[in-house]
Structure formats: structure tokens, C-alpha cells
């Protein structure tokens, strides 16, 4: 592979107290691609993203971002280096307005013009956010909150966008919309690491996938091949 690797996990181990949550995984995220981690509840998907983002400490192993070792760096430093996370459950700030939520994403940026341009871009992606700009985040519907969470992450102009279960808890019609948007964001140049329980949706839009089971990677490959894989079909796509 001659493509440039943006993010690499090398033999990563994470513990929660005595629980061995991540058992030595290796993941590569090439620039410009959508990479997905699929797996059941409790497989360690969220833990993986939290470790990269700096919210959870790794015991051993390495997180390498653009050639630099960022293992166990604090979350705000990781974000400043160019990694944004759309956290599980959206976690928008309920008492801040939609506009303030977006500005939280752009907190460390000084380029006023760039921020304006990105706001316009985001309002094109999600016209509904523009209508709700002055509303408090907590008054938005679940789907709108998800759009806001994605937009907030984009406002930091990340080199790598990580998303934790963006389709969770959304109406089916919105699920398709969210996957469409993820694809669009990627096509406009952002590298994406996507974690999903909705394996079908994630594999359809991604380039390469990893299957995580109880903290280990049990299978990996190009997404279109995983879609055809018997084990994946049985366990994650509900096809016998």
C-alpha cells in the first residue's frame, strides 16, 4: 500500500480496572478514506475511540497520528493536533445555543473568515441547523442533535473525524440521511474513522472495515468483501 497512513494503532491494550477491554489491536487509517470498526455492544469500539481521543489511558501499545506518538496525550491536546470525536450519545451542550455549540468546536481557531466559510458549508449540509441557530441545544430533536454533534466536530477542521455510533437511536429515515452525510463529508476530503453497530450501513459507505469482538480484531478487509463474508453476514447483518 502506497497510501499515506494518518492514524495507526499498534498492539493497543486498554484496561478498565481489572477488565481487559482492548486486547492488542492493530488498526490503520489511510488518508481520505472511511474506515469502520464494527462489532456488538461491549466489543470495545467506544473504548478504542476514547483511547485515541485521550479520554481513556492505554496500558501498552501505541497510537500514532501523522507519524507522531500521541499515546495517552490529554484530550484537548489530541483535538488540537487535528482529531475530532463525535461522541456516543451526541453529547451536545444542552444549555448552549446551536451557534455556541458550533463555536465550541471552533474554540481554538483564530481564522474568522475560515470559521464563517465552514459555517456556510455546514448550513448547506444541514439546513435545519441554520433555522435553529439561536435555540438551545437541549431543545433539538435526536436527529438534529446528531447533526449538531457532527457539525461541531467539523468546526475544528479535523484531519481525522471519529464518529461513535452516529446512527444510534435515530429513526430509520434519518439513519440513511446520516450515512449519506458521512459519505459526503468524506468525499469533500475528511478522513473518517467510523464505529457502528449498524454494520450494513457502515460497510456500505466505508472503504475498509475491522470486526471487533470482546476486545480483539477477529476479521478485517475491504468493506465490500466483508459484506459478502459469511461470518459477517451471519453475525452482524442478520442474514443466514
Amino acid at each position: 500500500m502506497s497510501e499515506e497512513i494518518v492514524l495507526q494503532l499498534e498492539n493497543l491494550h486498554v484496561y478498565y480496572g481489572a477488565i481487559h477491554a482492548i486486547k492488542g489491536i492493530n488498526v490503520k487509517v489511510p488518508r481520505g478514506k472511511i474506515i469502520t470498526l464494527i462489532g456488538a455492544n461491549g466489543a470495545g469500539k467506544t473504548t478504542t475511540l476514547s483511547t485515541i481521543a485521550g479520554l481513556v489511558k492505554a496500558k501498552t501499545g501505541k497510537v500514532v497520528f501523522e507519524g507522531r506518538d500521541i499515546t495517552n496525550k490529554p484530550a484537548h491536546i489530541v483535538n488540537r493536533m487535528g482529531i475530532a470525536l463525535v461522541p456516543e450519545g451526541r453529547r451536545i451542550f444542552p444549555g448552549l445555543t446551536v451557534y455556541e455549540n458550533l463555536m465550541m468546536g471552533a474554540y481554538n481557531r483564530k481564522d474568522k473568515d475560515g470559521i464563517e466559510r465552514d459555517l456556510e458549508w455546514i448550513f448547506q449540509l444541514f439546513p435545519r441547523l441554520k433555522e435553529r441557530i439561536k435555540q438551545l441545544g437541549g431543545t433539538l430533536s435526536g436527529g438534529e442533535q446528531q447533526m449538531l454533534a457532527i457539525s461541531r466536530a467539523l468546526m475544528s477542521r479535523p484531519k481525522l473525524l471519529m464518529m461513535d455510533e452516529p446512527s444510534l437511536g435515530l429513526a430509520p429515515i434519518l439513519v440513511d440521511e446520516v450515512f449519506e452525510v458521512i459519505k459526503k463529508i468524506n468525499e469533500e476530503g475528511t478522513t473518517i474513522l467510523l464505529v457502528e453497530q449498524n454494520a450494513l450501513g457502515a460497510l456500505k459507505i466505508s472503504h475498509y472495515g475491522y470486526v471487533l469482538e470482546t476486545g480483539s480484531i477477529v476479521l478485517e478487509g475491504p468493506s465490500n468483501e466483508l459484506l459478502e463474508n459469511d461470518m459477517v453476514r451471519k453475525a452482524y447483518l442478520g442474514v443466514a
Partner: protein, 302 residues
Amino acid sequence: MNQGVFFLQNLFNALMLGGLYALIAVGYTMVYGILRLINFAHGDIMMMGVYFAFYTAVIFSAPPLVAAIVAVAGAAGLGFLIDRIAYKPLRNAPRISALITAIGMSFFLESFAVVAFGAVPKPFIQIFKDKTILNKVVMLGGARIPLLTFLVILLTLVIFAVLFLIVYKTKIGMAMRAISMDIPTTALMGINVDGVIGFTFALGSALAAASGIMWAMRYPNVYPYMGFMPGMKAFIAAVVGGIGSIPGAVVGGLLLGFIEIFMVSYFPTMSGYRDAFAFIILILILMFKPSGILGKKSVEKV
């Protein structure tokens, strides 16, 4: 003195006292909003601020305004340091550990003041001995109001205006509000959470010192335990108003000031119970509206 004049006189006293409580209460409420910690040392930071002003004025014969600015800055630095040294290492510890540390910090500051400054009260007013203009009396509708009272009320208003600008119109204010809602997600936005928490301590401490200096101009004694009762009442004000809410701290502070002044004025026989009113209000609020006047129903974070 007729009823109207009597009322007016007390109204101004109540506004002044309530404003001073509110200034201290804001420090409690901001720290609680962010860390769910009652910073019991807050009243003692106010006391330290007054000592800073006193010694700056006495030792360096600085003009009162300069002494006040030095003291406010010094208290801000002290608040920041206390967070770094005492509370920051306990960020992930059980909440009770930080609470006990806060009580310990309060005792430490009081004892430190006894050792370093002496337990004998010092006359604060001497640094204003040339400022007799402050003692001039203004006649307002028949009421005699000292100029100092106007000054304190005016300054309190200005300080609150600045505080609200910081909290609601600046980036760091937005970060403070975000932290009070969700600390990990705020860190994910690239914000140095500990830095913002330190700023919050500094800001609250600066307000406490400002309040303390004005307090000492009105009740002109400096002593190591002077922060205890105002701190206690400001804490009650914060709880009554709804702890975690800045407007709540203002409402609670004013309410306490009004009740204290008016109870004593209209029922002079009860003046011995002056300090008890605050606690009675606290008990009533905790019985009937534990979240406070402007507080939201607390949702336990998991």
C-alpha cells in the same frame, strides 16, 4: 422619622449588604457549577484579600485604589493556587475527599492568618483616613445615606455587569458554561479544562476580595475569622438562590441582605438573632424547595 424615610434608609443598607453577599455567593456557585464542590475556603479567600489590601496600603503606603487592585489580583492568584495545589490532584477522587480538603483549606487559611498577621483585629479604616469624603452623608428624600453606601452599590453593579459579560459573552465564559454541563466533551473540543477551572477559581476569588474590601470599609475591622460568617451567609445565599446558577446567587444574596436588614430594623428586639435568620431561611428552602429559587432540579450525573 416617618415610615417612608425609614424604609428608604433600610432599603439602601439592604441593597449594599445583599450585594456584598451576592459577590461572595457567585464564587461558591461558579465552583459548584463546574466541580460540584463546595469551596469552604471561599470566605477565607475573602479574608486574605482584605489583608492583602490592608498590608499593601500600610506597608507600601499605597493609595486605597491601588491597594484594592493589588488585593483583588492577589486573591485571584491565591484562588488559582489553591485549586492547583489542593483540588486539582483530587479531580477524579470521590467528591467527599475534595469537600474535606476544602474544609481543611479553610482552617489552614484562618490559622495561617492568625500566625502571619496576628489574631488581634486591625482597624481597616485607617487606610482610608484621608478619604473622609466617603463618610459624607447624602440626603435622599429625607433619608441620610452615607456616600460609601452609594459607592458600594454602584461598584457591585459594575462588577456584576462585567461578570455577566465574561460569563455570557466571551469565549472563556462559554467554556465555563460548557464545563458545568459536560467536562469530557469540553475537553474533546480542544479546551484545556484545568485552565478554565483555574480561571473560574481566580475570578470567584477576585470577586470575594472585592466584596471583602468593601465589607471592611463598612465594618472596618480585619481579623483572621472575618471571612467565616460572610462566607457562611454567602454560601447560604448561593443555596437559596439555587447553587450552580449565577443569577440565583444574586437573587439569594439580595434576599439574605434584605431579610437581615429589615428584620433587625423592624423587629429591633430580634437583632441578637441577626445571624440566625440566614440559617432559618436555609432550613426553610431545604425543606420546601431544595433546588433553590432559580436552581434546576438536579440530575445525578452517572
